[in-house]
Point group: C2
Chain length 519, copies 2
Amino acid sequence: MNLTQPIHRAAVMTPNALATVCGERSHTWRQIHDRVSRLGGALRSLGVDRGDRVAILSLNSDRYLEYYFACWWIGAVVVPMNIRWSPSENAYSLRDSGAEVLFVDQTFAPAIPAIKAEAELIRELIYLGDDDKPEGMRAYEEFLSSGDPVEDVRAGGEEMGGIYYTGGTTGFPKGVMLAHQALWLNGLIMAKHVDTQPGCRYLHAAPMFHLADGAGSMAVTAMGGTHYFVAAFTPDGAIRATSENEISHALLVPTMIDMVLAHPDFTPEKFKSLNWLLYGASPMPEGLMRQAIEKLSGVNFVQGYGQTELAPIVTVMPPEYHVLEGPNAGKLRSAGIPAVGLEVRIVDEDGNPCKTGEVGEIVARGATAMLGYWNRPEETAATLKDGWVHTGDGAYMDEDGFIFIVDRMKDMIVTGGENVFSAEVESAISTHPGVAGVAVVGIPSDKWGEAVHAIVIPREGHSPSAEKIIDHCREQIANYKLPRSVDFRSDPFPLSGAGKVLKRDLRARYWEGRGRSVN
Amino acid sequence: MNLTQPIHRAAVMTPNALATVCGERSHTWRQIHDRVSRLGGALRSLGVDRGDRVAILSLNSDRYLEYYFACWWIGAVVVPMNIRWSPSENAYSLRDSGAEVLFVDQTFAPAIPAIKAEAELIRELIYLGDDDKPEGMRAYEEFLSSGDPVEDVRAGGEEMGGIYYTGGTTGFPKGVMLAHQALWLNGLIMAKHVDTQPGCRYLHAAPMFHLADGAGSMAVTAMGGTHYFVAAFTPDGAIRATSENEISHALLVPTMIDMVLAHPDFTPEKFKSLNWLLYGASPMPEGLMRQAIEKLSGVNFVQGYGQTELAPIVTVMPPEYHVLEGPNAGKLRSAGIPAVGLEVRIVDEDGNPCKTGEVGEIVARGATAMLGYWNRPEETAATLKDGWVHTGDGAYMDEDGFIFIVDRMKDMIVTGGENVFSAEVESAISTHPGVAGVAVVGIPSDKWGEAVHAIVIPREGHSPSAEKIIDHCREQIANYKLPRSVDFRSDPFPLSGAGKVLKRDLRARYWEGRGRSVN
């Protein structure tokens, strides 16, 4: 089960079919097979060996896909960097992974000096842009052409295929190690649940560093479909790309769907080719769902709930439950049923299965489970127990086997599809001299699903403004982690018996009257 | 990737949903989970350890399915015996596998003394019938209830899950060793291509010992569907079972489809629930296809071409190519495109890829490939080279990646879904005193796809009749391998440069005017 396998399959089966279309550039499967083997050869000539980590920091493009497959071709390990992180955060994950080679595009090239200053191991930079390459970098096409095609080493099975960094409860990103088998199988799981087919047309609109889109990359390649790209999501860009390329399959988060439907360029006609729409990160709010069903009739909606530690798909909400009436109604707030190939349970604090309707932690096992956290045996042991990945998400299962997420045990906020750990934001705010106490929670947001919200107890004699608090965080954490709003209080926070802040109590007033109470 | 995984998944997700319905008997997934863990415990109490082989000789039933999963639960290896083989052939495979425990039903219990006489290792017999158990056997339900539920050992990955006997070119059956991973993944591949879903209703109409139905067993269990059974295929039985149980998914060979459509009980109304029909072993003759499309409108037809050595699916013909007109027409005689997860190539005698349209041997690789032949390193080495399974089938690939089988290099006949090796039949006929020379080929048959046909050169002074020749074979080989017709000639057989009989020349006159020339 090696990740390059679909490239070989497609190159034999449909060598002349389109593999990638990116702006003016397009390649057939035969060309991709050749280019990947050359790019692999070029990487090897830089001294990249089997098991070595190779990183990328880039918006979406066909070259991102080539990077993935070229690394796997020579048995190297991909390290896709979060495009929303600060240079410091990315430098941390580069140092942690030990990557020495980094692919970077024109958008992120200006950040390289700041990153390199903190990530001294980086010795080779491949520039993905088409304009003049910055000094000290290699131009992508030239670099690729310089490589002699090499044989696929056929890395596979339990061999590590990628390290995917995810926010940590301690404020430091953790590297999730995923095997070839896990990534490959997850692609097949998505191919099953989102019904990719030979000749399907998939739009990479969500960021490619993210495993949700990574699953799409594999699901589409496995079936021999065609990849289309928008560099970064904008509603008008996604509308145009879908319409012009007759996209059949896409992955968006609800926030993006909302923006698309609300955009003046949107017409149902432009989405008539769209057949399957996977949305992730959060359930579809009922108002949005109602709109989507009406405006995107003929589209099969599938929700995927996932976690990087599970490569990432854990549960899926099938299309037939995306209805407001009839026998299948009433599941819209659910994250769905376990994806094929996964066992999912709700367990109590002692690890015993909960009864139907009882809230506990979601745990999952299957061949898509992570190998562990890179260089973090203790955190691995805390998350991966007897083969079960502990997700940290609280949920119950109804009598039909549908899972309803009710709380994120890891104290995490999901905003616009990104995970933000409260602890990290609290840590940033707490360094402000005017702050005596702080608690960060997710509050409902029509645009982002949840928004990061800080509740601050000012230090005696200080009265910091919300703006000052937010400004104070700006240099420490990525933009999407910044609090969107700040409330002040003088009373101490409500505490649990163990002395922990009772966030559920703090969140209550913001969520009142809302159907869902994630975080 | 362990084969018992879907049982755990379904028992948590939909414990009260129906897992199996067999005549008057039905069980939910919670019950199946319990029964499998008990049957596993009972087997272990007989001394069955991880890696031990446990055989079965039985028509279809829910107990066949329980046997599969109970063996895997304790890490034992299943050995499903061919119900069409003679006692001698089955005794051979029992001896070869080293199985000591055998499950047998009421149909085959009478053959046990003859089998045991040649398979002395067998020390325990479990009787699957509901009537009084024969002496020296254990009654199934009593045996199962005697077991304490045991923990699943979670055998999986590359660990052997089954030995499946297949006819050999030398006349001796070979045991194909398949890993958990191969059988599991093949089930997922089938789940993808035949779109099994939670709640789907699958009919076991083809024999369960066969891997084609084995793929169905996994594909349906993986998704949490319900299994229905007919003990052995009859057209009226299949019609009744489909209609009464509102079957949505089934697997039949074209011969069976023909018998169903021709039966007086058939009405389209009785098949209105049928959504997906996988047919295997041979393409659908055009006349039959035309009938099937007309009479089974609304059914998605999928052809699967497979081989035991590949667990078994190799290629699939998707529904949209089962048409007689339009842009997708013209592929009906094809075996389809490589199944997802498989690389398939057509290679020449030196192993180099053939050009489009050029005939060579089909080779395939993927995680579903066999581990090898049990105790036959030389034959393994001849078939499994650099990870590629050499199928022995001759074919070409067209410009759209569709594979057209034109010859079976292993000199094999596919009749009614079963493989018959010419060498074995020739060997039986050649022992007749009146036979100087013999060649066995497949000739077209509307009923069986191909029929076994013998061409005999009588010994001087002898003139054996066709009936005598066939009678002579009866004790040596299984009924389905017997020649259906015999021609006589006095001229020597045409020979190749290497001195081999040119079977293609012999077959030519029988296949004249037929579109397809398999064998």
